[in-house]
């Protein structure tokens, strides 16, 4: 650990260490400040929110939140939650077997398949948005939440395959072989030996899928409207319909961001592995 390395210098670096700590804290607060300010503004009356000199002391109110809740926020939350949860489950259902076939009992040309999956992440989504629009229009799936479920699944599936594969590669081969020797069939050893061992991996994969789905905007803004709109679409519509009210807007933006922020805070440890698609442990 870092502290053993630093401990030998403790005397000399005592003051330097404190200064470094202070600087680190200041930078941390600096990065967080815009978010803190947004949340603070959400508790203001509009008169306190639009002032030339920013106000720190004010009479807090929950008025803005109740405004947001009364302007049709919940159906959008419902849509986002549905698309996020269902697509994440679908991703896992497709990616777990696929990762298995790319790690534990690998197909031929494993690396070609992996290459294909990751290359779909590199192709710009904007290149397929026009046909997607035309197709969904022709099959009457525009502004339908299932369209979002399918697209979010496709968006996250390559990441999930890579991540889950990296977790499965960590399972020692002997464990699985032992299960085989004991006469367990493929399905049984998959379910009773492999699955419990990769549960943490499944959880962090799900977390990454949830983050990307909940925050997704490009497909949603182009393919949904009032009926299947997701939370980011609500935010955009909120400015145009309600006019520019800083406090109200802050309340809406804070509420929209909250679920993923909390999920990410809780699962900080899994985040690194997920963001590097399993490459960094």
């Amino acid at each position: 650990m870092a502290d053993t390395f630093l401990a030998s210098h403790r005397g000399r670096w005592h003051w330097g260490g404190r200064a470094t700590t202070l600087v680190t804290w200041i930078i941390g607060l600096f990065f967080f400040f815009p978010i803190a300010w947004m949340v603070l503004t959400a508790f203001k009356h509009e008169v306190d929110a639009s002032t030339d000199t920013p106000k720190i002391a004010f009479k807090p109110t929950l008025e803005q939140f109740s405004n947001v809740f009364h302007s049709g926020f919940w159906p959008y939350v419902g849509n986002s939650a549905f698309a996020t949860v269902v697509s994440t489950l679908l991703v896992l259902a497709l990616a777990i077997p696929a990762a298995y076939a790319l790690s534990i009992r690998p197909v031929q040309k494993t690396s070609d398949v992996l290459f294909f999956f990751i290359s779909t992440k590199m192709l710009p989504v904007v290149a397929v948005i026009v046909p997607l629009y035309v197709i969904t229009q022709q099959i009457h799936m525009l502004d339908n939440i299932w369209t979002m479920v399918v697209l979010f699944t496709a968006m996250n599936l390559p990441i999930a395959v890579w991540m889950l594969r990296s977790f499965m590669l960590e399972v020692p081969g002997e464990v699985l072989e032992a299960a085989q020797v004991d006469g367990a069939g493929l399905m049984a050893s998959f379910r009773h030996v492999l699955m419990p061992m990769i549960t943490p991996g499944i959880a962090s994969t799900a977390l990454i899928c949830v983050i990307f789905s909940w925050n997704e905007f490009f497909f949603s803004v182009n393919l949904t409207a009032a009926r299947a709109g997701t939370v980011p679409v609500f935010l955009v519509g909120f400015i145009t319909s309600e006019g520019l009210f800083f406090a109200q807007l802050s309340a809406a933006a804070s509420m929209a961001a909250l679920p993923v922020v909390i999920a990410g805070w809780i699962a900080q440890k899994q985040l690194v592995r997920g963001l590097s698609m399993g490459a960094i442990k």
Binding site: H9, G28, I35, D52, M122, V126, L151, I280
Partner: protein
Amino acid sequence: MAVLTAPGARTTTPSRSEERAARWSRRAPLLPALIFTIVVTQLPFLLTLWYSLQSWNLVRPGSRHFVGLRNYADVFADSVFRGAVVHTVLITAGCVVISLLVGLGLALLLDRRFIGRGVVRTLLITPFLVMPVASALLWKYMMLDPVYGIVNWALSPFGAGDEDWVVSHPMWSVILVLVWQWTPFMMLLLLAGLQAQPRDVLEAASVDGASRWRTFVHITLPHLRRYIELSTLLGAIYVVNTFDQIYMLTQGGPGTASSNLPFYIYQRAFLGFDVGQSAAMGVVVVIGTIIVATVALRTIFKSFELEKS
């Protein structure tokens, strides 16, 4: 590689049909995911190719007809498209380089034990978690607003007036918001790299009296190289597709001053309803991406292979 013959099975040469059955039983779990991905991501692209050869405007029904490569000629003659290419490169490179440097600095600061380390780390990763649409709104209205924004208020002792940053410096505004969002990403990946350093080597260096700077340059940086490559590539994959922040902050403006490829193609498709042209642009972008990505993917693959061994 797991060998999955039944215990005690004689390794007689299996018949061809048995061999084929075994191959398919390996493939079976892969197929649903593979087929789904091909259908949802590749088929639409084939349609993009087809549409790109047609003149087709959605607001003029019956206008659709085959024009061959004319859309492509128009795309290459379009100065706004060329501008969007330049903006995309600048935004991606600017964001990745700056957030990588800041992220490295922060990772170094966090790679030591101090009071509240976990809290500071939590504060620092939050910008990455905030929904991009929400963070763009927050920056546009609460931070960069010419009259009520915090930035102008904070700069007022230095003589800043009611500068409208999003209009006067659209590219930098976009990059600023992106850097704020992506620095935590770089920091997390690089911090993981720092913590994977073999401590005995660092200790040996400090015992030998190597200065912290020399230790950093000769031991830490070479060790971090793989992590830096990986975070650059992954960051670039995401940032090149930036749409949300531009849509919310500048709408590609003023004029087309901050329009990148995703935003410009979106405009042509959904505000201009020009299917043929936007499809042709999509194809050009994909070809460009394939060229860049082939190089990039090889590097990623190298890092992943290294990790395995």
